[in-house]
Symmetry: C2
Subunit: 316 residues, 2 copies
C-alpha cells in the first residue's frame, strides 16, 4: 500500500494539520483524519488521503501528528495511543507544552510522545486557509524531556527538517517561558491597543494608520486560540505581562529609554545571522548538546546518518 | 514664472516633505528647500525645483508646508513668517499639535497658521525614502482652532483633497488625545514587546514569528521621532499608557475578556464603512459642522465651489 514511503498520520485537518498534510504528501504516505466530515471532504477534494475514523488513520503510521485545538490535545493523544503501532511515536502542534506533558504522562504515554510546536500561523483558520508552504523556513520546537526517547525525537525531527523546517530543541518549560514573551504577549498587547483605541472614539479610529494596523493585526485572530494559549500558560504569561507593564510604567516618566531599548532589540533581531555548524550523530552527549543548541537560539537544519547540520545566531 | 499654477513651498525634504513635493509637483508650482545641501541635490536629481535659502522658497508662495523634525517646527515656522507674502498661509506636518500652536501663537502667528498631520509614514526616513504615492487615501488632520482663518483652512484642505488625501478636521487638543492612542501608544507597546523578548534570550528570539514581527515593526523606526512625539504629548500619552496598562493588569486574571474586546475592536475597525455626504460651502455654521464631522470619524474628500464632499463611518 505504501511502497517505500514512510507512513505518517495527521489527526486534525485545520490550518495547521491541513498545511502539514499537504506539505508532507510530497514525500510521505500521509493519512489524514478529522472529526468534522465537511473538513474531511475538503481535504479529499484537495487530493489528500483521508479516512473516516481515527484508528484507521493511525494503525499503520510510524509518526502521528496530532493537530487539534489545544484543549482537546491530551484527550486525542490518548485516543491515538489506543491504536498506535508499538514502535510509532506521537507528536503534536500545541502552543503550550507543560500542561500537555503532564496530561500525557498521567496516561503513561511519556515515552511515546514528542511535543512539538510550529512557529507559524495566520489570522485565518480551517482547512480552507491551509497552505503547503506555511512552514517554509519556520522554527518548529521539538521538546526533549528527560523521558523522551532520543531515537523517536530524531525520527520526528528528520521528517520536519525534510520539509525545510528549522527544528529547535527545547524543554517544555523553557519553550513555555519563551513563547509567553514572543507569542502570547503580542496577542495581549495587540488586544490592549485595539481596545484602548476603540474606547477613544471614531476620530482616533479614522487616524489609525500603519502603526495601529500592524500593532493590532493578531487581534484579528478568532479569540478562542489566543485565549486558550494564555490560560494554559498562566505563570509564564503573568511574568511576561509583569515585565512589559514595568517597562510601560517606566516609559510614563521616560519614553526615550524604552523606545531606544526596543529599537535596539528589534534591529538586532532583524540582523541575526545563521552561523552553520554540525553535531556528530553518535555523540554520547547528543541530548545535552541539542538542548544547549536550542538555548543559544540554534536549530537543526538537516539530519544525516553521521552528522546533524545545525545553525545558530552565534558560533556554537 | 508660475503660469496659472498655484505656487506652494515645501520646507524640509525628508520622507514627509519629499513625498509631498513629488506628489504636488504634478499639479502645482512647487519650490522646495532643505537646510541640508545633499538633500537639496537629491531632490533636484529627482526633478524638483529646489532653492538654496528659505526666503527664496517662500516669498512668492501661497501655501508653505513646513516638514521639518518636530523639535525644530516652531522655529522654522517663525523663520518662514519673516518672508511670507501677506495673504499666504503656513501649515506643517508635525505629529503633535498643541505645543506647536502655543509656540506659534507666542510669535503672533496664530491666524497665519493651520496645523496639519498626515497619518502616513514608513520606518525609513530621508528624501531617498520618499514616495509620491505615500499619501494616497491617507487621513490628514487639519486643525480648526478658534483663531484659525476658515478661508485659509479651506485653501490648504483644497490642495490636500486634490492629492487624494482624506482631510480630517479636528482641534489640536482632540488630535493630540487621539494620536496618543493610535500612534504614540503603538510605538511604546512595540518597544516594550521587543525589549521584553530580547531579555528572554536567544531561544525566544528564534521562536519569534509573525505576531512578534508585526507587533514590533514600528520599533524599527529611528528612535528620535517616536521619542519626540511622546515627549511632546505627555498628558495624552500618560493617559493612553495608563489605560493600556489597566487592561493588561486585568488580563493577568482574565486574558479572555481582553482578547475578546481587542478582537471586536480590530474587526470593527477593519469593517468600517465610508458613508458619503456633503456640506454646503456657504453654511454659516461650517466651522462647527466640520469639527463635528471630524469627531464622528469623518473627513472631506473633495472641496467644490458650492459643496464639500464628505464621508464618515456612519451617516452624518
Amino acid at each position: 500500500m505504501t511502497g517505500t514511503r514512510e507512513r505518517v498520520a495527521v489527526v486534525g485537518l485545520g490550518l495547521i494539520g491541513g498545511s502539514l498534510s499537504r506539505r508532507l504528501a510530497a514525500s510521505h504516505d500521509v493519512i489524514g483524519y478529522d472529526t468534522d466530515s465537511s473538513t474531511r471532504d475538503l481535504a479529499r477534494t484537495a487530493g489528500l488521503t483521508v479516512v473516516d475514523d481515527l484508528p484507521a488513520a493511525v494503525h499503520e503510521a510510524s509518526i502521528v501528528f496530532v493537530a487539534v485545538a489545544l484543549p482537546a490535545l491530551s484527550t486525542v493523544v490518548g485516543q491515538v495511543a489506543l491504536s498506535l503501532p508499538e514502535d510509532a511515536v506521537v507528536t503534536d502542534v500545541g502552543s503550550v507544552k507543560s500542561p500537555l506533558y503532564a496530561a500525557v504522562r498521567a496516561q503513561g504515554l511519556g515515552t511515546r510522545f514528542v511535543g512539538g510546536h510550529p512557529m507559524a500561523g495566520v489570522e485565518r483558520s480551517g482547512f480552507s486557509a491551509s497552505d503547503p508552504d506555511l512552514y517554509d523556513g519556520a522554527a518548529w520546537v521539538l521538546c526533549l524531556e528527560a523521558d523522551t526517547v532520543l531515537a523517536s525525537w530524531l525520527q520526528v525531527a528528520g521528517v520536519l527538517t525534510g520539509m525545510g523546517v528549522r527544528v529547535v530543541p527545547s524543554t517544555a518549560a523553557e519553550h513555555d517561558a519563551a513563547v509567553a514573551r514572543v507569542s502570547h504577549l503580542p496577542h495581549l498587547l495587540a488586544a490592549a491597543l485595539a481596545a484602548t483605541a476603540a474606547d477613544a472614539g471614531p476620530l482616533a479610529l479614522t487616524l489609525a494608520a500603519g502603526s495601529f494596523r500592524d500593532g493590532t493585526r493578531v487581534a484579528s485572530t478568532a479569540p478562542a486560540l489566543p485565549t486558550s494559549m494564555c490560560r494554559s500558560n498562566p505563570e509564564a504569561v503573568d511574568a511576561a505581562l509583569g515585565e512589559a507593564m514595568a517597562r510601560l510604567q517606566a516609559a510614563q516618566a521616560d519614553p526615550g529609554s524604552l523606545i531606544a531599548a526596543g529599537h535596539q532589540a528589534r534591529v538586532a533581531w532583524e540582523n541575526r545571522q545563521a552561523v552553520p555548524s554540525y553535531l556528530p550523530a553518535g555523540d554520547a552527549m547528543l541530548r545535552d548538546r541539542l538542548l544547549e543548541l536550542g538555548r543559544r537560539g540554534g536549530w537543526i537544519a538537516r539530519i544525516g546518518s553521521d552528522v546533524l547540520s545545525v545553525a545558530a545566531p552565534e558560533p556554537v
